[in-house]
């Protein structure tokens, strides 16, 4: 008995496939819709064609922007692959193509970094290893036609469900931990800054600049993120918890421009339900489907893992070790993480920062001539906004200027910045040490001593 329980905990055995199949379909359909949305809004051109300069990630400088036809083709490939995932058609190939193409797009420019697109890449990578196409898929249908096999039981291995639960749970919990922060809890920032944007709303507009609401939403948001995986996992609280999930994501999706995130998380939260939960709804609409008779859970002794299974376990182990350590790395750096933003990406720091900034770049040539470079001449408005608020992008832009001067045969230069930034309702402060020649500072993982420390919050 104890062995069987252990097997279940480890994700061995099989479960009703309904929940996992629905997740596969929802993920693929959402991603397809997202590509259509990007094209319809003209964002592919705005974000990936219009820029004359990109900000690739450290270590991924080899990822280059594509010309317009190339990037549109890549988006089309993402859509086709996402559709393949939804339908379970050429599933492994679709997962691989989706992951590679989507991640390539995300790696082109740090300007476009979004937590939920990082989550999409992570989920796509996990889906590649999960055999979610074994049932209710084009692949299963093709296989049956090819081999004449009988229709398989509507079951899938348990471990994909466990893996998805762990992954989604980590996202929520780390997002909650990130909100255990002075600005968020003690100053209700940045919600106190953001909510008054919506005072023009009918009925509730009058509440939007009430400070108590910002505090209530900040604390509720923190508690929600920290605990929701557990409420969803507990059968007795599940219905209320999921109603809260829908309400939470509906409100945040309505108030803030966070794209598909609310839809993605609303779909992802269903992995915490019983594996056969969609059958309840099938019954409600009068199309009952009987739950499959599950094969017995491996009894004792447990069979030794086959090499492929062992490899998959190792990969998953490494994956979750990375998932645990990546969000924690920001705490290794001294100073205020929302200010210097070291280790800030890939750490589920969702909706924590409102920054406004202004940066002038001063290029000094060997003869002492000074040129002031205004970023607006080179960057798109979005790139400019992101660059001026993120130190690593400021450094990259300084390096771009250094390299540009050299490429034009204008010799070695020094690059200094006059950078000012306001964070989460604070007054502006000098952001970068104006005496540091950024042309000589190399990008690295070391603490950035050229980012000036954030002064304590003053009065309003």
């Amino acid at each position: 008995m104890a062995r069987a329980a252990a097997a279940l905990a480890l994700g061995r055995g099989e479960v009703d496939a309904a929940s996992l199949v629905l997740f596969r379909i929802a993920f693929g359909a959402l991603m397809t819709a997202n590509v259509v949305r990007y094209e319809a809004m003209g964002w592919v051109d705005d974000l990936f064609v219009a820029p004359t300069l990109a900000f690739p990630y450290w270590g991924f400088e080899w990822v280059r922007p594509l010309p317009a036809p190339g990037i549109h083709a890549l988006f089309a490939l993402v859509a086709v692959a996402a559709l393949g995932i939804a339908l379970g058609a050429f599933y492994r190939l679709s997962c691989a193509v989706f992951f590679l193409a989507f991640t390539y797009i995300e790696l082109i420019d740090r300007t476009t970094y979004l937590n939920h697109y990082y989550l999409v890449s992570v989920l796509a990578a996990l889906l590649f290893f999960m055999p979610l196409h074994r049932v209710a898929s084009v692949d299963a249908w093709r296989r049956r036609r090819r081999t004449g096999e009988a229709k398989p039981l509507f079951v899938l291995p348990r471990w994909p469900l466990s893996v998805l639960r762990l992954q989604i749970g980590l996202v929520y919990v780390f997002a909650g931990l990130a909100k255990v922060h002075g600005d968020w809890l003690l100053a209700a920032e940045p919600l106190a800054t953001w909510l008054p944007r919506h005072t023009d709303l009918p009925l509730v507009g009058g509440l939007m600049d009430e400070r108590w609401l910002a505090y209530a939403m900040s604390w509720a948001g923190m508690l929600f993120d920290l605990t929701i995986p557990f409420w969803l996992s507990w059968r007795r609280s599940r219905a209320v918890a999921y109603a809260a999930v829908l309400a939470f994501h509906a409100v945040t999706g309505f108030l803030f421009p966070i794209g598909i995130f609310p839809w993605l998380m609303s779909a992802a939260a269903t992995v915490f339900f019983e594996p056969g939960w969609p059958r309840h709804f099938a019954r409600l609409v009068g199309r009952p489907r009987t739950a499959p008779a599950l094969p017995p859970t491996p009894g004792c002794p447990l069979r030794p893992l086959r090499p492929r299974q062992l490899f998959a376990r190792v990969v998953l182990g490494v994956h979750f070790a990375v998932q645990l350590l990546l969000p924690l790395r920001q705490h290794l750096y001294p100073g205020e993480r929302t200010w210097h933003e070291q280790g800030f990406r890939f750490a589920w720091n969702v909706m924590l920062v409102e920054k406004t900034a202004m940066v002038d770049f001063r290029v000094v040539d060997a003869a002492g001539g000074e040129t002031v470079v205004h970023p607006r001449e080179i960057l798109t408005p979005l790139q400019r906004r992101m660059m001026t608020t993120q130190p690593d992008m400021i450094l990259s832009f300084a390096h771009h200027l250094r390299d540009r001067w050299a490429a034009e045969g204008r010799g070695e230069v020094e690059v200094y910045v006059d950078a000012w930034c306001a964070l989460n309702g604070r007054r502006r402060q000098r952001f970068i040490d104006p005496e540091v020649d950024l042309a000589r500072v190399e990008a690295s993982l070391a603490p950035r001593d050229w980012v000036l420390p954030l002064a304590p919050r003053d009065g309003r």
Binding site: T193, Y215, A422
Partner: protein, 368 residues
């Protein structure tokens, strides 16, 4: 059980306590739509009406000058040009909608600077028609106030050289009159486009319709144009000719109005327009401006903004102009003006934008 209840109560009471203790910016009920309408009615539309009246005065003065060229009629035409341009520079702070967007896109038709003197000279030397109707289909470098400024002024030879040039070539007067008449048409088009009884762009802005999507984004747009105007004053009107972008090498060819000697005044007028939108006040007429919005969010900042405007004017007026000479003879004065405008830009683009929660970008893609 009791202990757990107390703990839970404390947890939920904490935010409420914090809210009460930090509630200094709560509950302003500021009506941004009313602010936008007021800015439109108090600042934008009157500025364009003044510009249209100025264009008519310039048209009349040009006709009088061409009918009877003399030092007096030239002086009157130059004065009319100066006045009309002042109104257009004030309107830079509201240079969106019909100014930038198709189908009207009036901006390049009235103010494509620096003057493309080669284009103007080439059209003078050609035999193409130069009446208002013909000019409507000519390139932006051949029309608008910069071209008129070039025809009416000669910083080297003075008014005598201008008069001599007009007397030597009758086509010059025909071109001037055509330019002035076309300017009237363009100025009228601005008024019609903004007027609630015409294109009602004012209503579109105030209600956050069309391109503005909603009222907050419309208000953000108005604020961003104020910022853009101030940034242009610093970077284009002052910094560029001063060599800021070119290793300190002066670029007199980048002056906004080198022929009329109006470059500094252009900068001042543009700031006046930005200040009018901020204050919601033009002349003696006081409406609701961005300042009133800021007062509901971070009142202490207003004094800084107004002081920064004052410092910028003082620094610009202290420059021993015209700017084409000052960039050489009064470098310290130009540098002071540049820095003063930068301070104004800084307080608005960082502190005020933070207080008003305006994300300074026109790109509305997803966040976080």
């Amino acid at each position: 059980m009791t202990t757990r209840f107390l703990r839970l109560s404390a947890l939920f009471a904490l935010p409420a306590l914090l809210a009460v203790s930090c509630g200094d910016t709560a509950g302003d009920d500021f009506d941004r739509s009313a602010m936008l309408r007021s800015i439109g009615e108090t600042v934008i539309l009157p500025t364009y009406r003044d510009f249209a009246a100025g264009a008519r005065a310039l048209d009349a003065a040009s006709a009088a000058f061409c009918a009877s060229p003399s030092a007096e009629t030239l002086d009157a035409t130059q004065q009319a040009f100066w006045d009309a341009k002042g109104f257009l520079k004030e309107a830079e702070a509201s240079a969106y909608g019909p100014h930038t967007d198709n189908p009207l896109r009036l901006g390049p038709r009235v103010d494509f600077w620096p003057a493309r003197t080669d284009s103007v000279d080439a059209l003078l030397a050609a035999e193409d028609a130069v009446d208002a109707e013909a000019l409507a289909s000519r390139g932006a470098g051949e029309v608008g106030l910069p071209a008129i400024g070039y025809l009416l002024h000669d910083p080297t030879g003075g008014d005598e050289a201008v008069l001599a040039a007009f007397e030597a070539d009758a086509r010059r007067c025909a071109y001037l009159e055509g330019l002035a008449a076309y300017l009237v048409e363009s100025a009228d088009a601005y008024v019609t486009a903004w007027d609630p009884s015409g294109g009602d762009h004012l209503g579109e802005l105030a209600e956050g319709r069309g391109l503005y999507v909603d009222v907050f984004r419309a208000a953000s747009h108005v604020f961003e144009q104020v910022l853009w105007t101030i940034e242009n004053v610093r970077e284009l009107k002052l910094g560029k000719p001063f060599g800021k972008r070119d290793g300190g090498v002066l670029q007199p060819g980048q002056l906004e109005a080198p022929y009329s000697g109006r470059s500094l005044q252009d900068a001042i007028d543009a700031l006046r327009g930005a200040e009018a939108v901020y204050l919601g006040r033009r002349g003696e007429v006081q409406g609701i401006g961005l300042r009133d919005w800021l007062l509901t969010r971070r009142p202490a900042l207003d004094a800084e903004v107004q002081a920064a405007f004052g410092d910028a004017y003082a620094a610009l007026e202290a420059v021993e102009g015209p700017l084409r000479q000052a960039i050489e003879s009064d470098a310290a004065g130009v540098e002071d003006a540049y820095q003063a405008v930068k301070e104004l830009q800084l307080v608005l683009s960082v502190d005020v934008a933070q207080a008003l929660a305006i994300t300074v970008t026109f790109n509305p893609t997803d966040g976080d």
